[in-house]
């Protein structure tokens, strides 16, 4: 993002707009205003957005446990980001693979240091919001059956061993950014990492009791839709903010983002209508999220047309990905993190090499880069990221299991529900 969004911004702003001379070397209050607002929007995506989106999809006896997991992960990730994560991702690069500890505890990130046209502290907080939501996305893989202590251990290790390094590769000046990988807002860094890790966890943890025939339907689809709507709104900050400026590039990013979300939702609805005779709300909002995840890596590099194409592709491919994972592979990635986020992020990360072309209304590829060349870089980036994420997630789970005496709750706890079993609370007391 750092690197590419800036090229993006450059491409965008260059020439045509009479730029205030000091644009890149002084504080731009407009850019700063937008990125602070964008940071709030991205935090809003996780809390309460993602929490509600996921919580509505589980049994009513586990609604609080899902919200709790999102909150706890958000808090832990924030602290870890301050302590080491930011530095591992954006500190001085160690051979292009990970950042050093020179920025641990935000050292040197005082309020008067700039990063581009905005204060670095604003950039660091914007990035913190990304570090908060990415491990929280994985919550969808293991609801209703993972020990809370295991959730905390795993998520913490994951942030440091998977998210931070990959973030460094792509946005922190690491080897992938050196190669010119295009990932505007996190198709590789956020969705590919979370998606593949989700599958690994689901497989190692095992399915929910009674999966697939006997699991209960979503207990509160309206809550899920509310969360999805918040995610959609917040995504303006996620993708639009990744431009790191308040300009036409940011505007185009929200345009492509919005169009992809809308198109994917319609595609998903259409499939359900044809296949099942009824379009469902849960289906429609799942389509929205699929479109948003898919357009993320491309949002700032493409045009409205690209948004339409990515959205349409996302709606169809992710729908079938869900069916394959759940019903062919019989993997209980309970809330479809891989099928929706993983698959979406990967599709977007690859297709951007084509859709960024001017013919599709995109901003074009980097100077002298070809579609094939770019596609190669993207494929390499995605591939290495998948392997790294899957591998470390496997190790992390082994360690976590050892630390917590097994990852999984007892059958009694699963039947009673995690809300009472692990948090001593019940979700709804609506009686007299």
């Amino acid at each position: 993002m750092l690197c590419f969004a800036h090229i993006g911004a450059a491409l965008t702003l260059s020439l045509l707009l009479p730029l205030p001379a000091f644009a890149q070397d002084a504080l731009n209050s407009g850019d700063t205003a937008w990125i602070i607002a964008a940071t709030a929007l991205v935090l809003f995506m996780t809390l309460p957005g993602l929490a509600l989106f996921y919580a509505g999809l589980v049994r009513s006896q586990a609604v609080l446990s899902v919200v709790m997991q999102c909150f706890a992960i958000a808090c832990l990730s924030s602290i870890l980001w301050l302590v080491a994560g930011y530095s591992l991702a954006f500190g001085d690069s160690i051979a292009g693979w990970v950042g050093g500890l020179d920025k641990a505890f935000f050292s040197g990130v005082t309020s008067d240091v700039l990063s581009g046209s905005i204060p670095e502290i604003v950039f660091a907080m914007f990035q913190m919001a990304f570090a908060v939501i990415t491990p929280a996305l994985i919550v969808g893989a293991y609801p209703e059956r993972m020990k809370f202590s295991a959730v905390l251990w795993m998520s913490s290790l994951w942030l440091l061993l998977v998210y931070a390094p990959v973030c460094h590769w792509v946005w922190g000046g690491g080897w992938l950014s050196e190669m010119g990988v295009m990932d505007f807002a996190g198709g590789i860094v956020v969705h590919a990492t979370a998606g593949v890790s989700a599958i690994v966890i689901a497989m190692m943890l095992g399915a929910r009791r009674g999966f697939p025939e006997q699991v209960r339907p979503p207990h509160n689809p309206g809550m899920t839709a509310t969360g999805a709507a918040m995610l959609w709104v917040g995504w303006y900050g996620f993708n639009g903010g990744s431009q790191l400026a308040a300009d036409g590039g940011a505007g185009m990013a929200i345009a492509t983002t919005h169009i992809a979300a809308a198109t994917a939702a319609i595609a998903w609805m259409a499939i359900e209508w044809i296949k099942f005779g009824k379009p469902s709300l849960v289906g429609a909002v799942t389509g929205v999220i699929a479109g948003l995840a898919t357009v993320t890596p491309a949002s700032g590099f493409i045009g409205p047309m690209g948004g339409l194409i990515l959205g349409f592709t996302a709606g169809i491919v992710c729908f079938y990905a869900v069916q394959i994972v759940k019903f062919s592979l019989k993997i209980d990635d309970s809330l479809d993190v891989f099928a929706v986020h993983g698959v979406g992020g990967i599709i977007g990360s690859l297709l951007v090499s084509v859709l960024a072309l001017a013919v599709f209304g995109g901003g074009g590829l980097a100077e002298g880069q070809t579609v094939i060349g770019q596609l190669g870089v993207q494929a390499l980036g995605v591939g290495v990221t998948l392997v790294w994420s899957a591998g470390f997630t496997f190790l992390i789970l082994k360690v976590t299991g050892a630390l917590t005496g097994g990852l999984r709750v007892t059958e009694e706890q699963e039947i009673e529900g995690l809300d009472i079993a692990f948090h001593g609370e019940s979700g709804y007391d609506l009686g007299r």
């Binding site: 697939p212 699991v215 339907p217 099942f276 469902s280 729908f319 759940k326 019903f327």
Partner: protein, 112 residues
């Protein structure tokens, strides 16, 4: 005294209540229940996963009445709750040995 238990379709609760008041029933107790019988349930599909909902929402009304009111009560319920569709429900009658009104301690039919 008899306890009449009727399981009916939810939207018939108010009509039945009104009809019963007219024939002089002094009170009744209703509760939301889930019914299983000849009437088919429905299936819900979420992200391609089918959930068969075997139970259908019904309302159960329970009322204790003097013996001589049983006939008219059953008839009234039947006429009002009937739609002709499968799933209209049932009426059961059980014997009640004692009754008491908590507020006054009255017993027997006075308690109703």
């Amino acid at each position: 005294m008899k306890l009449v238990i009727a399981v009916i379709k939810p939207h018939k609760l108010d009509p039945v209540r009104e009809a019963l008041t007219e024939i002089g029933v002094s009170g009744l107790t209703a509760s939301e229940v889930k019914g299983f019988g000849r009437q088919k349930g429905h299936t819900e599909i979420y992200r391609g996963a089918e959930y068969t909902v075997a139970f259908l929402p019904k309302v159960k009304i329970e009322l204790v009445i003097p013996d001589d009111l049983v006939e008219r009560t059953m008839e009234t319920i039947r006429q009002t709750a009937e739609t002709g569709q499968i799933g209209d429900g049932k009426i059961f009658v059980l014997d009640v040995e004692r009754a008491m009104r908590i507020r006054t301690g009255e017993i027997g039919e006075e308690a109703l």
